[in-house]
C-alpha cells in the first residue's frame, strides 16, 4: 500500500512537519498576509521582511504560523528556508520552477540545485488534491511580496 504514500510522505517531509524551520511569527516585518484554504480550513499567517530596493531587494526574514496537513506545514518550512537570506530576484526562477514542477502531475522532475529540499515535496504533484496544500505558502509569499513592494514604492 505504501509505495505511493512513501513518495508523498518522504522522510524529509516528515522531518520538516515534526520540526519546522523558521516557524513562529517574528518582528520586524514589512508585510503580513493571512491565507485560508476554504476547502480544508488550512490557514497560514506569513510575515515577510524585505530590505533594500530594486534589483538588490533582500529577503531578510520569513516567519509564519501554519495550521495544516503535513504537506502544507513541510512546504512552509522548506520555503522559508529557501527564501531567507536570498534576493527577491534570485528567488523568482526558484518559485517558477517549483510551481511548474508541482503543476506537472509528475512529468517535470525538480532541479535540486534550484529548489533544494523542495524536491521532497514533488510527490504531491501526482496527487492533484494535495497540490494546493503545497503551494499555499508560496501564494502567501507572493501576496506578501506584492504588499511589501506596494508599501515601499
Amino acid at each position: 500500500m505504501t509505495v505511493g504514500l512513501n513518495s508523498l510522505y518522504t522522510e524529509l517531509v516528515m522531518e520538516h512537519d515534526k520540526r519546522p524551520l523558521h516557524a513562529g511569527l517574528r518582528e520586524p516585518f514589512t508585510a503580513e498576509v493571512h491565507h485560508v484554504n476554504p476547502t480544508c480550513g488550512d490557514e497560514i499567517t506569513l510575515r515577510l521582511q524585505l530590505t533594500g530596493s530594486g534589483a538588490t531587494q533582500q529577503i531578510e526574514d520569513v516567519s509564519y504560523d501554519a495550521i495544516g496537513c503535513a504537506m502544507s506545514r513541510a512546504a512552509a518550512s522548506i520555503m522559508a528556508d529557501l527564501l531567507i537570506g536570498r534576493s527577491v530576484a534570485e528567488i523568482e526562477p526558484v518559485r517558477e520552477h517549483f510551481e511548474a514542477a508541482m503543476g506537472s502531475r509528475g512529468r517535470l522532475e525538480g532541479d535540486e540545485d534550484l529548489i533544494g529540499d523542495g524536491v521532497a515535496l514533488l510527490g504531491a504533484a501526482k496527487f492533484p488534491a494535495r497540490v494546493k496544500c503545497v503551494l499555499m505558502p508560496w501564494k502567501a509569499y507572493q501576496a506578501a511580496l506584492v504588499e511589501s513592494q506596494a508599501l515601499r514604492s
Binding site: 505504501t2 504514500l5 480550513g41 495544516g68 496537513c69
Partner: protein
Amino acid sequence: MNSPSRAFDIQAIRADFPILERMLDPETPMIYLDGGATSQRPRQVLDAEVAFLTRDNAAVKRGAHRMASAATDAYEQARETVAAFVGAPSPDEVVFTKNATEALNLVAYSLGNGDPSTPPALRVGEGDEILVTEMEHHANLVPWQELARRTGATLRWIPMADDFTLDLSDLDALIGARTKVVAFTHQSNVLGTINPVDRLVEAARAVGALTVLDAAQSAPHMPFDVAALGVDFAVLSGHKMLGPTGIGVLWGRYEHLAAMPPFLTGGSMIEVVHLDHSTYAEPPARFEAGTPPISQAVGLAAACDYLTALGMETIAEHERALTDQAVRGLSEIDGVRIIGPSVGPHRAGAVSFDLAGRHPHDVGQVLDSLGIEVRVGHHCAWPLHRRFGLHGTTRASFSVHTTADEVEAFVAGVARTTDFFGGLS
C-alpha cells in the same frame, strides 16, 4: 420497479451498484465510505435515466407534441413518487430544485421577498429573529445569515452541548415572540446526531414560527414522513439518496407555498406576463423557473423506489449496526477521539473522528492508499468544528451497500494510519 418486500440481501444490493466493482489500482478494491458527501447510484437509477432519455426526452410543460406530453408525464410522475416518499399529502407540495442548498435558499429568499400583501408569518423583517443551530451545514446557515443581513432580522443559534447533541436548556429564551423561523438539521452530517424534531417543532409552533428541516442527511437513511414530523418545510438532496446530482427537493405545506412570493423568476413560473409586470403560477410551478432537471427527476424517483423497496427501517437498522461496529472499533485505537454521540437510536451512520491532532488530510491520504474513501476537512460545518476546537475531522459515512467487512477494513486502516505516522503524540 422493485417489489415492496425485497429482502435485505447485501450481496444482491452490492450487485446493483456497478461502481463497487472498481479497482483503484490493480491490487486495491475501492471501499466507498463517503455516501454522506455523495452516494453511489444503483443500476435501477442509471437505467431509469437512460430509459427516459432514449425514449421520452423533451422539454416539459411546453409544446403540444406527443413527446412533450410523455416527458411531462414522466416528470410529474416523479413528483408523485417523491411526494409519497416524504409522506407529503399532495404532489403539489413538492418543488424540484437544483440541490438542497438551492431549496434552502428558495425559502430564505422568499421569506425576505414579501410585500404588505404577504401574510406576516411568511415575511421576515427588521426586529424578527431567525433561529438556527451551531451544528448546521453551511447550506442551512449562510442563507439565514444573508436573510438576516438583507432584512435587518437577527440570527440566533442553539448551542452545542459537550455530548455532541444540541443544548436545549435555554430553548425557551432562544425562541420567543420575535422568532419567525427555526431552521435546523434532522441529522448532523458530521456528528451523526439525530435531533429531537418534535421538541423543536413544539417550541416553534408555540410562538407561531416556521420550521425548516434540512433532511439531506436523514431522508436517505431512515423512515421519513413530513406529516409525522410536523415541520413546515423540508429539503432533500438527490445525490445523497442514491439519485442524480443536479436535483434537490423542497417540500413545503401548500398553504405556505401558495402565499409565498417566488425566488427565481423567468419562464415556466408565470401566469400572465406584461412588459412592466407579471403574475405567477400556483405552486409548485411558481418555484420552478426555467427548464427543470427532468431526467434527474426521473432518476430521483427511481432512487425513491429503490430505497422504499429495501425498506427504510431495514436500511436504518443495517446502518445502525455498522455505526455501532465502527464506533466500538475506533474507540479501541489509541489517540482516536470520536466526534459524535455514543451509539444508540439518536445516532446515525456518519462517524467522524480526530486522530491525535493529526491533520485529517494526512489521515485520509493513508486511508485512500488502502482503498478506503472517506471525507476529510470541516465538512461544510466550520462553526461546529470550531466549537470543539478542531480544524477538521475524518469522516466515514455508511450506505445501503456498506458491509461489516468494509467497516472492519476501515477500522484496521485507521490503526495502520497511527502506525504509519508513528509516535503520535
